[in-house]
Symmetry: C2
Subunit: 350 residues, 2 copies
Amino acid sequence: MEFKIAVLAGDGIGPEVVLQAKKALQAIASVYEHDFIFEEALIGATAIERTGNPLPQQTLNLCLNTDAVLLGAIGDAKYNDNFDVKVRPEQGLLKLRKELGLFTNIRPIKPYRPLLNASPLKREIIQDTNFIIYRELTGGVYFGEKTTNEAGTYASDLCEYSENEIARIAHLAFQAAQKRKNKVTVVDKANVLETSRLWRKVVKEVGLSYPSVALDFLFVDNAAMQLIINPKKFDIILSENLFGDILSDEASVITGSIGLLASASLGDKKALFEPIHGTYSRAKGKNKANPIASVLSAAMMLEFFGLQTEADKVYEAVEKSIEYQVVTSDLKPDSNFGTNEVGDFISNYI
Amino acid sequence: MEFKIAVLAGDGIGPEVVLQAKKALQAIASVYEHDFIFEEALIGATAIERTGNPLPQQTLNLCLNTDAVLLGAIGDAKYNDNFDVKVRPEQGLLKLRKELGLFTNIRPIKPYRPLLNASPLKREIIQDTNFIIYRELTGGVYFGEKTTNEAGTYASDLCEYSENEIARIAHLAFQAAQKRKNKVTVVDKANVLETSRLWRKVVKEVGLSYPSVALDFLFVDNAAMQLIINPKKFDIILSENLFGDILSDEASVITGSIGLLASASLGDKKALFEPIHGTYSRAKGKNKANPIASVLSAAMMLEFFGLQTEADKVYEAVEKSIEYQVVTSDLKPDSNFGTNEVGDFISNYI
Ligand SMILES: CC(C)[C@H](C(=O)O)[C@@H](O)C(=O)O
Ligand SMILES: CC(C)[C@H](C(=O)O)[C@@H](O)C(=O)O
């Protein structure tokens, strides 16, 4: 089959890790006789430097006309240290998510057996953990109105949600739970936030259509604790944009490295795949970054294409690289392998 | 010396744990010849039941006319499951914080040596951890305008900050760092939130007056991860209200139990002391709840009164209870000791 894939490598280590994901996809293409057509485009800080725009129109057009988007990472520290800059790299990513209507971000959390000791958490706490975070991605405080006053002495951010925004992702979360352990846990701050109370109400209503699925609610402060104390008890965690962002980075400690975590962002029509890690600028160009999160994002893309066997092959290759300890130094401090070597191992295995 | 203390036991396990704190304070009073005058008042769900108001005027008046407030816990699950209820227990606590001007919430995180194995984190990760969270407590999304539409299909919460709100707590954080490891880490989401960008700007400006203190910034998603991977590296964590709430509950895993964590909430004139744990309703009346967080809150109150020797005595008593394993079942699953027995041990030791 033929698929057209937009490749937005972005900033920092983005280009290096995305390259390994492409190598894996090319290996899959040649073994299983598919045709993956990659088209590169600019986004983020790199796009600002070249075009003045973090999401050039050309990039958006490309994404709208491809089967899926493979993204690296976005951001540059210099924009966070400079408060007068009005054009910021992250706007490119946020606008892309919004324009493509990618309202559901899916982040699976499952430790690899050979890496159980790589986590700061005790083995008995993390083993058999297996949950997925469903993070709402196009609403909440990320997209509400932002203001500052002229004097620069006041700022505000508005968090908004509508019933429809909550219901559509809730359906996906319940459907996913039905195929797994039949449990959805909503994370919110309903004792303080009006938006959280709307979340509770809407998710409860949606839940009536999925009677086999148990539904419970946790305050985000408590959830941040439970995720570490007893991660096994979760199946599907459903949360709004900001809480989902925080919890999924936090949950990375269960796997031993954020460099292992992939995500799929889905809308009604479009889909984007990206690691949950950031640009890790210090490692840029050093052949140090872990490419597995990017490779796994490519595997999630294959699943989205309906190519389950091919996706499983990629998962298997990643498992082998971990089993044989062909991993970067985040997982094995004395490792001799870099980004490229891990990527080579994976594509050769395929 | 004589001190007048408002005791707001609140809901759930609040009354049980506050009782132990009072016992410790009474022991201190008799050994060191002080006079602590306790006056009880209603707050939270209990106050709603009896008066219809989560913070009766009488309670507020009492707090305004005492030297300090000792609080138990506030909240009741039934209010979170009922979206039509407009009067909520937490409003009592939030209003009290606001009315007393308690803009700084201080949460020390330091594991006890004999409990290093009680944490889900590995010993080598947590040992020698010692940081304090400075959480802004009277601003942010907790206090911004909240709206819903008539149809119940839309909700919003406004997060606001002003320069002054940020600067006053930043000064306290830098001053605390000067007496410790000279490091302040601000946690925010400056790549997305306008309020976070204001935080960065203001804290940087304030930092100019404290040249000996190193200042750095972390995004909240990253911070939620770093807190678990490498908690040793923090000294003072400074954050806005909601992020501080999430991070401090999360940080409780470092000590092995949220039942060990106390907090002080300070304003220009007033002060309130409370555990960071919640109402733990399931344990209510069962003599099961860990009273140590409440006892330690009382110790922080003694420090606030300038009674350092007395506070140190309470800290010592708590250390002994842990050393001799006179602790509740959250710390030792097969423990025979309950809330009362731990409280008795501590007050007898004093
Ligand atoms: C870069 C940033 C805007 C982004 C987010 O907060 O969504 C990132 O942290 C993520 O999780 O994809
Ligand atoms: C009860 C709740 C409103 C409160 C908060 O979020 O501030 C609690 O979690 C706390 O941390 O004191």
